[in-house]
C-alpha cells in the first residue's frame, strides 16, 4: 500500500518536474533549433518544430561573413586571461589569510567583498575616460584588467573558503619533520588545494565569459567579446533570426556545458561561502 502510493507520487513529480524543466529550457532549445533553419523557416508561422530542411548554412555564414572567430577568440582570451591573472594575485592573498590570519583578516575580507558591491555605473565615467586617454579603449588588455579586478573579490573569497578547509595541523607536522617551505607547498598544499583552485577558475571563466556591462561599454569592433558582438544583432536591419541563433548557439554552448559541471562551486562562489 505504502509502496503504491510512493510510486504514484513519484510519477506525479516526474510529470511536473519534466514539464517545468522543459519550459525553462525551451528558449535555449528553440535557439539551437532555429540555428538549423533557413531564414524564412525561422520566422514562419506556425513555427516548424522538427520537420524542416535542416541546414548548416547559418553556421557557415556566421563564420565567414561576420568575423565570428575573432570575437570568439577575444572571449577566450578575456575569460581565461582575466581568470588566470586573478588567480595569480588571489592565491597568495587567500593563502596568507587562511594560514597566517591576523586580527585584521576578517576586516580585510569584508572590505574586499564590499568592493564587489560597488555598482559599475559608479565608476563608468572615470574608467571610460582613463581608458580613452591611455589608449586602452577597445583593447583586450584593458578588458582583461577590468574583468580581473571586478572578479578578484570572488576569486579571493572562494579560494579562502577552500584553503580554510585544509587542516593546518598537517602543515605543522610537516614543519616539525623538517620540511622546507617549498617541499611543504609541492607535496602537501598543492595536491590539497588544486581541486579548490580548479573550481574557482571554472566559475570565474563562466562569469567573465558572460560579463556584459564593461564588455559593451569598453569595446568596439576590435576587442569585442561575444557578449558585445551578439548585441550587434539587435540593430533592426531585418530579421536574421537563424543567423542570430547560430551565433548565439556557438556563444553559449561551451559555457553551458562548463556550467553544468559547476553547480556546487556556483553556490559557494556566488554566496561568498555563506551557503555551502
Amino acid at each position: 500500500m505504502a509502496r503504491a502510493v510512493t510510486t504514484q507520487r513519484k510519477l506525479v513529480f516526474t510529470a511536473i518536474g519534466w514539464l517545468i524543466g522543459i519550459l525553462l529550457f525551451f528558449p535555449i532549445f528553440w535557439t539551437i533549433l532555429t540555428s538549423f533553419k533557413t531564414e524564412s523557416e525561422a520566422i514562419a508561422t506556425p513555427p516548424s518544430l522538427l520537420f524542416f530542411d535542416w541546414t548548416l548554412e547559418n553556421y557557415i555564414e556566421v563564420n565567414t561573413r561576420s568575423d565570428y572567430l575573432k570575437h570568439a577568440l577575444n572571449s577566450v582570451i578575456i575569460a581565461f586571461g582575466s581568470s588566470l591573472l586573478g588567480l595569480l594575485i588571489a592565491i597568495p592573498a587567500a593563502w596568507s589569510m587562511a594560514f597566517s590570519p591576523s586580527r585584521h583578516t576578517k576586516n580585510v575580507l569584508m572590505w574586499m567583498l564590499s568592493t564587489k558591491m560597488l555598482p559599475p555605473v559608479g565608476v563608468l565615467v572615470p574608467i571610460y575616460l582613463l581608458f580613452r586617454n591611455t589608449g586602452l579603449l577597445d583593447t583586450l588588455v584593458g578588458l582583461v584588467i577590468v574583468l580581473m579586478l571586478i572578479n578578484l573579490p570572488i576569486i579571493i573569497w572562494m579560494l579562502y573558503t577552500y584553503f580554510r578547509e585544509i587542516p593546518g595541523d598537517i602543515l605543522e607536522a610537516a614543519r616539525m619533520d623538517g620540511a622546507s617551505l617549498s617541499r611543504e607547498i609541492v607535496y602537501i598544499l598543492a595536491p590539497m588545494a588544486t581541486p579548490g583552485i580548479a573550481s574557482t577558475l571554472l566559475l570565474n571563466i563562466i562569469l567573465a565569459w558572460n560579463e556584459a556591462f564593461w564588455s559593451l561599454n569598453l569595446t568596439a569592433a576590435d576587442a569585442a567579446p561575444l557578449t558585445a558582438f551578439i548585441a550587434s544583432y539587435s540593430s533592426p536591419e531585418g530579421l536574421f533570426w537563424a543567423k542570430l541563433s547560430a551565433a548565439s548557439t556557438l556563444a553559449i554552448a561551451p559555457i553551458l556545458v562548463l556550467g553544468w559541471f559547476s553547480q556546487k562551486q556556483l553556490v559557494r562562489g556566488l554566496t561568498f561561502g555563506a551557503v555551502k
Binding site: 507520487r9 513519484k10 513529480f13 516526474t14 511536473i16 518536474g17 517545468i20 525553462l24 529550457f25 528558449p27 535555449i28 535557439t31 532555429t34 508561422t45 594575485i89 588571489a90 597568495p92 592573498a93 593563502w95 596568507s96 589569510m97 594560514f99 597566517s100 569584508m110 568592493t115 564587489k116 558591491m117 555598482p119 555605473v121 559608479g122 565608476v123 563608468l124 565615467v125 572615470p126 579586478l149 573579490p153 614543519r175 558572460n210 556584459a212 559593451l216 557578449t227 558585445a228 551578439i230 548585441a231 539587435s234 530579421l239 533570426w241 541563433s245 548565439s248 553559449i252 553551458l256 556550467g259 553544468w260 556556483l266 553556490v267 556566488l270 554566496t271 561561502g273 555563506a274 551557503v275
Partner: protein, 290 residues
C-alpha cells in the same frame, strides 16, 4: 608558530591584491565624486568649471530620474518576487525523488549560464516578437490577440527576461540549503500528525531563512545594475518606460556626453547599492565567525 618572518611573508603575499582593489575602488570613485561637482561635457574637453551641487540638482529634478528610480525598484522587486517564490517551489520539487531528476536539474539551471545579450535577443525576437514570435503564435492559436510585449509592457517583459536568468540561481541556493535539512525533524513532525503545509511553514521555511536572505541580498546587488538586457531590447524606452538608474547614468555619459550629471547619478547609484551592501556584509561576516 606565526613567527615574525612568516607574518612578514603573509603581509607581502596579501599586498598586491589589497593594493589593486584599493586602487580600483578609490581612484575611480574619487574621480566620479570630483566629476560630479564639475560642469563637464565630454565633447568639449578643457572647458570644465566647478559647478557645486548643480549636477545633483539637475540629475534629481530630471523627470527621468523619478521614472528610473521607480523602474529600478520595480525591476528589482518584481524579479525578486518571481525568482524567490519560484525558486523555493522549484527547489522543493527538485528535492523530491523522481525519474530523470538529474537531467531536469540540468535543464532548470541552464538559463543562468546564458549571456545576458543572448537571452535578451532570443526573448525579444523569437519569443516576444508581436508577429513571428512563439508567444504571438500561441496567443493566436488560442484565439487571443497577440501582445507586442516590449512595446506595450516593456518593464514587465524585461522583468520576465531577467527572472528567467536568475531563477536558476535562487533555485540552486535554496536547493543546497534544503539538502542540509535534517530529515529526522520532518519525520518526527509527520509522526506527530503535521501536514505538508505546516511542515513547510514551521520547519522548512525557518530552515531556509538564511539561504533566502542571502539570495535576496545578492540578487539585489546584481539586479540594481541590470544593463545589457535593457540596451539590446528597448534601449530604455519607449520614452523612459524601461530606463533604470544604471541605464540612465549610461545614457547621460555616453549618449548625452554629460560627464558631470552622469557622475552625480553614479554617486547616487553607489549610495543606493551601499544601503543593501551593509546588510549583506553584516550577514556574511556573521557566518565567518561561525
Amino acid at each position: 608558530m606565526a613567527t615574525l618572518h612568516t607574518r612578514h611573508t603573509a603581509r607581502l603575499m596579501l599586498s598586491p591584491a589589497v593594493i589593486m582593489l584599493l586602487a580600483w575602488m578609490l581612484i575611480p570613485l574619487g574621480m566620479t565624486l570630483y566629476f560630479s561637482l564639475l560642469r563637464y561635457n565630454l565633447l568639449m574637453p578643457g572647458t570644465e568649471t566647478f559647478d557645486g551641487l548643480e549636477n545633483y540638482v539637475y540629475f534629481v529634478t530630471d523627470p527621468a530620474f523619478g521614472a528610473a528610480i521607480a523602474n529600478t525598484l520595480l525591476l528589482v522587486g518584481g524579479t525578486l518576487l518571481i525568482t524567490v517564490v519560484g525558486g523555493t517551489f522549484l527547489a522543493i520539487l527538485l528535492d523530491q525523488p523522481f525519474f530523470g531528476q538529474g537531467i531536469v536539474r540540468l535543464l532548470t539551471i541552464s538559463p543562468f549560464f546564458i549571456m545576458p545579450t543572448v537571452s535578451a535577443l532570443v526573448w525579444k525576437n523569437m519569443l516576444m516578437h508581436p508577429a513571428n514570435g512563439v508567444f504571438a503564435w500561441l496567443a493566436t492559436s488560442l484565439g487571443f490577440q497577440p501582445i507586442d510585449w516590449l512595446a506595450d509592457a516593456p518593464l514587465f517583459s524585461i522583468i520576465l527576461i531577467v527572472s528567467w536568468g536568475w531563477l536558476p540561481f535562487a533555485t540552486l541556493i535554496i536547493l543546497t540549503a534544503l539538502q542540509s535539512l535534517d530529515s529526522e525533524q520532518k519525520e518526527a513532525a509527520e509522526i506527530d500528525g503535521a501536514g505538508p503545509v505546516s511542515i513547510f511553514f514551521f520547519i522548512t521555511l525557518p530552515h531556509l531563512s538564511r539561504a533566502l536572505t542571502v539570495v535576496v541580498l545578492i540578487e539585489t546587488i546584481f539586479l540594481l545594475s541590470v544593463f545589457a538586457e535593457i540596451l539590446v531590447t528597448t534601449n530604455g524606452g519607449p520614452g523612459t518606460a524601461s530606463t533604470n538608474l544604471t541605464f540612465l547614468v549610461f545614457a547621460q555619459a555616453l549618449l548625452n556626453y554629460d560627464a558631470g550629471a552622469a557622475a552625480a547619478g553614479g554617486i547616487i547609484a553607489v549610495i543606493l547599492a551601499n544601503i543593501v551592501a551593509v546588510f549583506l556584509i553584516r550577514m556574511i561576516g556573521k557566518n565567518l565567525e561561525a
